[in-house]
């Protein structure tokens, strides 16, 4: 009845590219026709673009569709509270409410999903879990609060569907979570990258040697750090387990990319359910393989919320599927999500990306936690400092490391003066969900924070 396959959906994950394009074209045609009939928001946008669904027949027709922005979506919800008129199924058919976590945007986006939407949401997560080696019988721990942030909800259902034993930790405190992982013999841990490190720190303080435990895989999501090599290495060292990255968003309800067990330095796009374009954030023109640009996503699977050419503001670099040896024909985003278009901080004319700082910082073993702090000096001058907590047992190496950190940071930022400060252990905030390590107290901010 069953055969062991490295692929969750072998038919689609190994489809020749030309067949994949044909499939995407058919799904796009059906999704646009349905949105025209059922989503007033999408119908208005199509009419404004003078597009009848009959004009969207093939993959190549995708570019006829206008971009969708988060601002349009939010404005629509503000004009027609609570959900706007984007929904393609009646609100009464929904079985669950969620909203965005609020790291960007003025107000959260609110979403409703129906029964089949939730089965599809879990299905997309299954691609990622299976590809990273999770199998029936695994014991999967979720460091997740199970609230209105959609986060790992779909992953939880995916693991139940796959036949794993799920350990939900809800609002448990960190020490209790570590204890549960240990007592129940969890083999897989799901968390944000930051919180995976926080759990490891707690385990050390409790005298638990994680690398000698049963955890073999960590599946992380919610922050770019999951694909930053130094951060991933740190997580893997502290847990004695392999770490796989995934990325999703509330606007889609699920993950649209996953790292396979070959760990190719990037994440495969689930291309039978999404079309991912990469465009120049300024001009909107598509960029070539290997060039950095903004993710623009089209989704077929979520019946309640049709999404066409959504400007995500995520920065990515797409590379061909041949970059990975796993046999999937799904292209990859090299390095996962590289940051956000509006994450860039402009400091005295120099572009500073928090992810770039993190990739430098995590190369240094003395660092336990850090924060990027910006302020206005003498009422006019932008200043930037990176504050560090030193890892227990590494205090003696701090002075040498501080100089190396300073030199690395300055060299990678065109000589920009970046101060390096040590702060007391435990004084910086810790995060369970998306980490917010930028504290920008400048009077006039030179770039979005």
């Amino acid at each position: 009845m069953t055969t062991e396959s490295p692929y969750w959906n072998p038919k689609m994950e190994t489809l020749p590219r030309e067949d994949l394009r044909r499939l995407q074209g058919k799904k796009l045609r059906a999704a646009v026709a349905r949105a025209w009939e059922r989503s007033p928001f999408q119908r208005r946008r199509l009419e404004a673009a003078k597009l009848h669904p009959g004009k969207i027949r093939r993959f190549e027709d995708l570019k006829r569709l206008p971009f969708t922005t988060r601002a349009e979506w939010m404005d629509n919800q503000a004009e027609k509270p609570l959900f706007g008129d984007l929904l393609a199924t009646p609100a009464e058919q929904a079985i669950r409410y969620h909203m965005t976590s609020g790291t960007t945007g003025r107000t959260p986006l609110r979403v409703l999903d129906g029964r089949t939407d939730w089965k599809w949401i879990a299905e997309c997560w299954c691609y990622g879990f299976h590809a990273f080696g999770v199998r029936p019988g695994d014991v999967v721990f979720f460091a997740f609060s199970y609230g209105t942030f959609i986060g790992f909800w779909g992953a939880h259902y995916a693991c139940e569907k796959m036949g794993c034993l799920v350990l939900p930790s809800g609002n448990m405190a960190t020490p209790n979570r570590v204890r549960l992982i240990e007592e129940m013999g969890a083999t897989v841990v799901c968390a944000t990258p930051t919180y995976a490190l926080r759990l490891a720190q707690e385990a050390r303080e409790m005298g638990i040697d994680l690398p000698k435990g049963k955890v073999r895989r960590l599946i992380v999501s919610g922050e770019p750090a999951g694909s930053i090599p130094a951060s991933k290495r740190l997580i893997e060292e502290q847990w004695g387990a392999v770490c796989g990255d995934t990325a999703g968003m509330t606007e889609l309800g699920t993950i649209m990319m996953f790292e396979c067990d070959r760990q190719p330095g990037g994440a495969h796009v689930i291309e039978d359910h999404f079309i991912e374009e990469v465009v120049d954030p300024e001009t909107g023109r598509e960029v070539a393989y290997g060039e950095r640009g903004e993710r623009v996503v089209t989704s077929f699977g979520r019946g309640s919320i049709p999404v066409f050419r959504y400007r995500t503001r995520d920065l990515v670099v797409k590379v061909p599927h041949s970059r990975c040896s796993c046999g999937r024909t799904f292209d990859l985003f090299e390095g996962g999500i590289l940051g956000r278009v509006d994450d860039m901080l402009l400091v005295r004319g120099t572009n500073v990306y928090p992810r770039a700082i993190e990739s430098i910082v995590r190369e240094h073993a003395v660092v336990d936690e850090f924060q990027i702090y910006l302020w206005t000096a003498e009422g006019i001058r932008d200043e930037i400092a990176v504050r560090f907590e030193v890892r227990a047992g590494h205090e003696a190496g701090w002075e040498k490391a501080a100089k190396a950190l300073h030199d690395d940071l300055v060299r990678n930022h065109e000589g920009l003066g970046i101060l390096v400060e040590r702060v007391a252990a435990g004084s910086l905030p810790r995060f369970e969900l998306k980490a917010r390590r930028v504290k920008d107290e400048r009077i006039v901010k030179g770039g979005g924070a």
């Binding site: 959906n9 038919k11 089949t116």
Partner: protein
Amino acid sequence: MKDLIGREMTPVERKILRAYDGLAALLREPGLAPTVVSNLKEAASSLWICVNELGLRAERDDDLAL
């Protein structure tokens, strides 16, 4: 009978599609008990994912309120 890619469906794929259509037809029967409706919807919804995953059909049966 061809899938969305244009390939001939396999015998198993045809059976999956028939099973889904059978459940959909059952759900359209009048006078079903709440327990029957709920459980048929769960089953039909799961089978729809299967149909969709294999690229057998793209159009949804919105009248079933799945």
